[in-house]
């Protein structure tokens, strides 16, 4: 990783990296606490909060009833009173039940009350598809959250970023929507130390190549890298740029590379209409209009609810090969 900071030797999982970030920040600041469904005794549906109850006790690691609107609202109130809640929602799909609290309260209390309060809350939740969880359990809602001013939206792709961005999120004074990927929890890699924070709004250049710029975040970074490997064998060299946060967005880094390659492919696990890919593409058109040889290609989820059957689900999601094909089409068009 071009932008990797001094990292710990030992490679740990994305899951453990998140766990480390919470543990370190809870040790550092007594006002930080974790609340959510099954985060304490059960140690999280995906075991991300493992060991926290033991170390910090049930005052700071709180199991809730299945009442998303209620306990997210609780977290917002606690944050207005100066605490720093880390709310774990079991998955992003359930955040829809708390969306009114997130959008109408967390994102707005500071503004509508003229800056009298801050809302330093982190809402952590895994999203994405790929495990045959079907229509109701496979959402990628990055676009919905990015739409909303007042929120910050973070989507880490590596253990290093998972830890560094979560620490930044916990110390940040604004509401942060922290979107984890179910498919990455077991992914291993180096992580930073207690003081290695990853700033918001700084894209990571995962790979550089002269022919085409692939933009992707979270799990899609790995799909993009796999595509880049395939293409390299064919002599096509690609950038893979990871925005890491959608709000704020480091358009500059994306645009700088697109001005070099003249071609861009945006990969997104979500739906196409009003989605992340359309948003990033629009920003790139506006920033690189005179440099683009062809329209920005979008590779995303099919415009359907997620099907259960494995073959259909895979067909609906972006794959390395579909990304590679999109790049090939662009390169060919350029050669006309």
């Amino acid at each position: 990783m071009t932008t990797a900071a001094p990292a710990q030797k030992k490679a740990i999982s994305y899951r453990e990296a998140l766990n480390q970030a919470m543990r370190e920040e809870m040790q550092r600041d007594p006002s930080v606490f974790v609340i959510g469904e099954d985060v304490a005794h059960y140690e999280g549906a995906f075991k991300v909060t493992r060991g926290l109850l033991r170390e910090f006790g049930d005052q700071r690691v709180v199991d809730t009833p299945i009442s998303e609107a209620g306990f997210v609202g609780l977290g917002i109130g606690a944050a207005m009173a100066g605490l720093r809640p880390i709310i774990e929602l079991m998955t992003v799909n359930f955040s829809i039940l708390a969306l009114d609290q997130i959008v109408n309260n967390a994102a707005k209390v500071r503004y509508m009350f003229g800056g009298q309060v801050a809302c330093p809350i982190v809402i952590r939740m895994p999203g994405g598809a790929g495990h045959q969880l079907a229509a109701q359990h496979s959402h990628s809602l990055e676009a919905w959250y990015t739409h909303v001013p007042g929120l910050k939206v973070v989507c880490p792709a590596t253990p290093y970023d998972a830890k560094g961005l979560l620490k930044t999120a916990i110390r940040d004074d604004d509401p942060v929507i922290f979107l984890e990927s179910e498919g990455l929890y077991a992914k291993k890699g180096p992580v930073g130390g207690p003081d290695d924070l990853v700033p918001f709004g700084r894209a990571a250049v995962r790979r550089e190549g002269r022919d085409c710029t692939i933009v992707a975040a979270s799990r899609m970074v790995w799909v993009a890298l796999a595509a880049a490997d395939l293409l390299a064998k064919e002599g096509i060299e690609c950038d893979v740029i990871d925005p890491r946060t959608f709000r704020p967005l480091d358009l500059e880094t994306l645009a700088r590379r697109v001005r070099v390659t003249g071609r861009a492919v945006v990969v997104d696990e979500g739906w196409p209409e009003c989605g992340i890919a359309a948003n990033l593409a629009t920003h790139l058109y506006e920033a690189c209009f005179d440099w683009l040889d062809a329209p920005v290609a979008r590779v995303g989820c099919a415009d359907v609810p997620m099907p259960y059957a494995r073959n259909l689900e895979q067909a609906a999601l972006p794959q390395a090969e579909t990304v590679a094909e999109a790049v090939r089409r662009l390169v060919r068009r350029g050669d006309r």
Binding site: I66, Y308, R310
Partner: protein, 327 residues
């Protein structure tokens, strides 16, 4: 009663087989088993008329089977095959059998409760005499939409039965750690609705309680809530190591196994004899075997159908779906 006995066994063996197929990688996604909850599932549904609509949760294989859905189609759905009861699009959490008025299993905790309110509303709107029943868990009882639904059902006297299958845990959280008032049925009283608690391990008790609730709804348009205490033997889903629950607690409940208890009753009252009981198990065994074989042999879903069922009146035949009107 024989029918109930057989259905309980069918569910037990179907679930055990599903677990095996999951381990074999034939079934994907989440798999939630109802082993231990057969009495509550069968007793409640048997107390309804076949045309009374039902909604349920993601732990609903048994509800479909109790309603008479074909085990082959249900197993094929779990396998994600084209012959599945939802054509392979729904999977374990989203079974539906519209023909049998089983309005489906849903994955969002609490999300299916107001749908039953709508089914009851439609019955009243058309002046019918049906009853809508919705099954939900102890954890779901803490979703605000239950309170909203109970209030409207009672306010408008809709023919709805709120059936809370309290298996005492929401994933790893015991009911007393999630609910200030453990007697969940009390919540109905806040909305002026009759409510009662029943032993969910006793199929006849459940049958009786739901029967009375259905009668009230049907004849008096009086909605009500029934809380049935039961216990799930397995973890929350196949991916749950189930380390939170104490083993002696599990043993205590398994000692009251609903199938064993019910068999003892039936034998005692001479409703069936040992041979018949064994015959039932043999029949069920064959059914489950047949279901698994059918699922295994069924063709996969055609990828060209990815976008087929998004809309009832679609505008585009793009195989990946599209918001754009074709030229």
């Amino acid at each position: 009663m024989r029918r109930m006995f057989e259905t309980m066994w069918l569910i037990r063996r179907f679930e055990e087989r599903a677990a095996e197929e999951y381990m074999r990688g034939r079934i994907g996604g989440f798999l939630h088993l109802a082993i231990g909850e057969e009495a509550a599932v069968v007793g409640s549904i048997a107390a309804l008329r076949d045309d009374d609509p039902i909604t349920s949760t993601y732990r609903e294989h048994g509800q479909a089977l109790a309603r008479g859905s074909d085990p082959k189609a249900v197993m094929a759905e779990l396998f994600g095959r084209s012959t599945g009861i939802c054509g392979g699009l729904g999977g374990s959490m989203h079974l539906m059998d519209r023909e049998r008025q089983f309005y489906g299993g849903y994955g969002i905790v609490g999300g299916s409760i107001p749908l039953a309110l709508g089914l009851g509303f439609a019955i009243a709107y058309r002046g019918g005499d049906g009853v809508a029943l919705t099954m939900f868990g102890d954890g779901a009882a803490n979703q605000g939409v239950l309170a909203e639904s109970m209030n409207m059902a009672s306010l408008w006297r809709l023919p709805v039965v709120f059936f809370c299958l309290n298996n005492q845990y929401g994933m790893g959280t015991a009911v007393e750690r999630a609910s200030a008032e453990e007697d969940l049925f009390r919540r109905a009283e806040a909305y002026g609705m009759p409510a009662s608690k029943v032993d969910g391990m006793d199929v006849m008790a459940v049958w009786g309680a739901v029967g009375e609730a259905a009668r009230m709804a049907r004849e008096e348009r009086q909605p009500s809530m029934i809380e049935a205490r039961a216990y799930r033997y397995r973890g929350h889903s196949m991916s749950d190591p189930d380390t939170v629950r104490a083993s002696d607690e599990k043993e205590r409940w398994q000692a009251r196994d609903p199938l064993v208890t019910f068999e003892r009753v039936l034998l005692g009252e001479g409703v069936i004899d040992r041979d018949e009981a064994d015959a039932v198990r043999a029949r069920v065994e064959a059914q489950v075997e047949e279901a698994a074989a059918f699922a295994e042999a069924s063709p996969p879903v055609d990828e060209r159908e990815l976008a087929r069922h998004v809309y009832a009146s679609p505008w585009s035949d793009d195989p990946r779906g599209s918001a754009l009107m074709p030229r």
